[in-house]
Symmetry: C2
Subunit: 328 residues, 2 copies
C-alpha cells in the first residue's frame, strides 16, 4: 500500500512537495490542506481534494505522514506541535537557534499522541547537518566550515524591502571563491564574516526615492549587511521580474581534520550542493524522510526526531539486499 | 566507562586504528591481536598487551568491539564470521561484488552468537555508500558518478609488480579533470572507462629488464590497464622510496538529478574527500562506527549491519541535545 501524504500549506514548499510525491512510486497525495478558501487553490494532481484546514481532524486515519509546508518564523512553531497531536508530521523548521525549544514542544505533543514529529528536514538544517555530524565523528580533531550560496536569502531580501523608498528587492548570498579555495587546500584559514560571503542586492526603487540614501542604508544595516562587503544594483521592475525570479541556491560544508601520531596527516571532506530550485530540492528531502517516518511509525517509534536519528536505509524504497548489492 | 577496543592485525590499518582510538576520549585500547610472534610486534600505546591470536577467546569479556584490520581478499571472509561468534566486530571489507555473500556469512555467525558484525566500513564502501544512498533517495530521477583518486590502487600496483622484470611499482588512479567538470556543470555526460580515470605507473626495473617490453605488457594488460590511458615512468629505487611511499588518496561521489513538473530543474550533489593517509582516514571511520556498535549492542541489536543501518547520531560522543544545539 502506498504511503498516503498530506500537504499543509500550498506555497513554494507545498508545490514542491506535490511534485516530489508524484515522482515517488511508493507514495500518493491524499489531500492538500489550506488556510485559504479551498476553492481558490488549484493544485497539479488530479482527483486530490483541497481541504479547509478546519476539517483536517477528519483525515486522521487517511494520512500516513503530514508534510508541513509553512514558514519557520510563525507557522511551524505553532503548527508542528499542534498537528503532531493528530498525525505523523515532518517540517523544515530552519531557525537554528530555536531548534532545541521547537524540539521540546514537538516531542511533548508527539509522545503524548503516539506519533512521530520529524523536524528541521531540508538541506540546512538537514543534509548539511548530517555532513557536519558524520565528519566531526570521523575527524574529531579539525575545523568546520559552512558556506551558503550563491542563492537568495529571504531574510536579507525582506530587510532591504523594509527600507523606505524600496519597491522590490532580492539579495544574493555569494560564497567568496578565495575562501573556498583556502579551505579546500587545507590551509585551515581563520575567516571573518566579510571574508566568507559577499552580499549582492538588486533593488527596484519607488518613484522619487534617493538611490544614494537607500544604498547607504543597506550597506550600514547592522547584523544584515554592516559586516559584509555589499554590492547594490538599482534596476527597473521589468529587469527584476525577468532576471531575479529564480529560486536557485546551494552551499558547501567542509571538515578539515588531522590524524597521525604527530597530527601530520591532513584530510578534507567537502559536501557541495548546487540547486536550480531551493524549494523543490528541500521538499525532495522532506518526501524521502516521509518514507522513513512511515517505517519508524510502523515500528512503534514516537516523539520528536531529527535526521540525525534516522538510519540512511530508511529513506529508500529498495530492500536491504538491493541496497547492499547496488549502493554499498 | 570507556569503550574497550581490540585490534586484530597490526599493519597499516591496525596502526591507524590505534591512532584513532588514542584520539577518542571515550575509548581505550584493550589489546592488539596478531598472527605473528607477539614479541616481534611493537605498538605505540603504553601498557597495552600484544596478544597471540590463538589466545583471543580469553578476551571475550574484556573487549566491547573488535576491529578487524586484515585484507578483503583472504583475511576478512574468514575472520569476520569467525570472530563475530565471540565479539562485536567491525571490518572494512571492500570487495563490492562479494558484499552480499560476506553479509550472509557474518549475519549467520553474529545472529547465532548474539553479537553485531558491522561490515564494509571505510570510505568506499562506507562514506561514499552513504552519499550514494542519501542522494538517490532524495533525487530519484538522476545519474550517479563515482571517481577515485588521486591515489594508489593496491590491486593495480600488485598487478604491475607481478610482471617479469619489475622490481617494484606503484600505480596511481587519477580522475580526469574534464570529466569531473562536465559532471559538476550538470552536463550528465556518458563517460567511458577511459574518460573517467587515468592510470599512472612508477616502475623500478630489475637489472637487465627490457623497459619497452614491460611498458607494453602493462598497457595491454586486460581488465587492469587495457581500457585506460596509462602513463608509465621508469625510476630508480631511491626516487621510488623518496617520492612514492605516501598513502594519499581521495575521490568524488556525484548525484545529478532533476525535479519539476517538466523535470526542468537540475540539482548537483557532490561529496569529495582528499586524504593524506588512506589507512588513517579509513580507521577513523572504523573507530567512529565502533561507538555505534557498542550503543546498538547495549540496545540488544544482533546480526550483520552496514553503515546504511546506523543513525548518524550513534557515531557521536555528544548527546542528542548537544547535537541538536550545535550541529543540526
Amino acid at each position: 500500500m502506498k504511503t498516503r501524504i498530506g500537504i499543509l500549506g500550498y506555497g513554494n514548499l507545498g508545490r514542491g512537495t506535490e511534485i516530489a510525491v508524484a515522482a515517488a512510486e511508493d507514495m500518493e497525495l491524499a489531500a492538500v490542506f489550506t488556510r485559504r478558501d479551498p476553492s481558490t487553490v488549484s493544485i497539479q494532481t488530479k482527483d486530490v481534494p483541497v481541504v479547509c484546514i478546519q476539517e483536517i481532524e477528519a483525515w486522521k486515519d487517511k494520512i500516513d505522514v503530514l508534510i508541513l509546508c509553512g514558514g519557520s518564523a510563525t507557522d511551524l512553531p505553532v503548527q508542528t506541535p499542534l498537528y503532531a497531536s493528530m498525525f505523523n508530521v515532518i517540517d523544515s523548521f530552519d531557525t537554528h537557534a530555536r531548534i532545541p525549544e521547537h524540539f521540546k514542544n514537538v516531542d511533548e505533543a508527539a509522545a503524548r499522541s503516539g506519533h512521530i514529529g520529524l523536524i528541521s528536514v531540508g538541506w540546512d538544517p538537514g543534509l548539511f547537518s548530517l555532513n557536519r555530524v558524520y565528519a566531526n565523528a570521523i575527524l574529531p580533531n579539525g575545523k568546520d566550515y559552512t558556506f551558503w550560496g550563491k542563492g537568495v536569502s529571504q531574510g536579507h531580501s525582506d530587510a532591504v524591502r523594509r527600507i523606505k523608498g524600496v519597491k522590490n528587492a532580492k539579495q544574493y548570498t555569494i560564497p567568496i571563491e578565495e575562501a573556498l579555495e583556502a579551505v579546500r587546500n587545507g590551509e585551515d584559514p581563520e575567516l571573518t564574516t566579510r571574508e566568507k560571503h559577499l552580499r549582492e542586492c538588486f533593488v527596484v526603487l519607488e518613484e522619487g526615492a534617493d538611490a544614494t540614501e537607500v544604498e547607504k542604508e543597506i550597506k550600514e544595516m547592522p547584523n544584515y549587511f554592516a559586516d559584509y562587503n555589499t554590492i547594490v544594483h538599482f534596476i527597473d521592475e521589468e529587469e527584476f521580474k525577468r532576471d531575479h525570479s529564480g529560486m536557485a541556491h546551494g552551499g558547501f560544508v567542509f571538515r578539515s581534520g588531522r590524524t597521525g601520531v604527530n597530527q601530520e596527516n591532513k584530510h578534507i571532506i567537502e559536501y557541495r550542493i548546487k540547486l536550480d530550485s531551493n524549494p523543490e530540492f528541500t521538499t525532495s528531502v522532506l518526501v524521502a524522510y516521509a518514507r522513513a517516518v512511515k517505517r519508524m511509525a510502523a515500528e512503534g517509534v514516537t516523539g520528536c526526531k531529527t535526521v540525525l536519528d534516522i538510519p540512511p536505509a530508511y529513506l529508500c524504497t529498495q530492500s536491504g539486499d538491493e541496497l547492499r548489492a547496488h549502493f554499498l
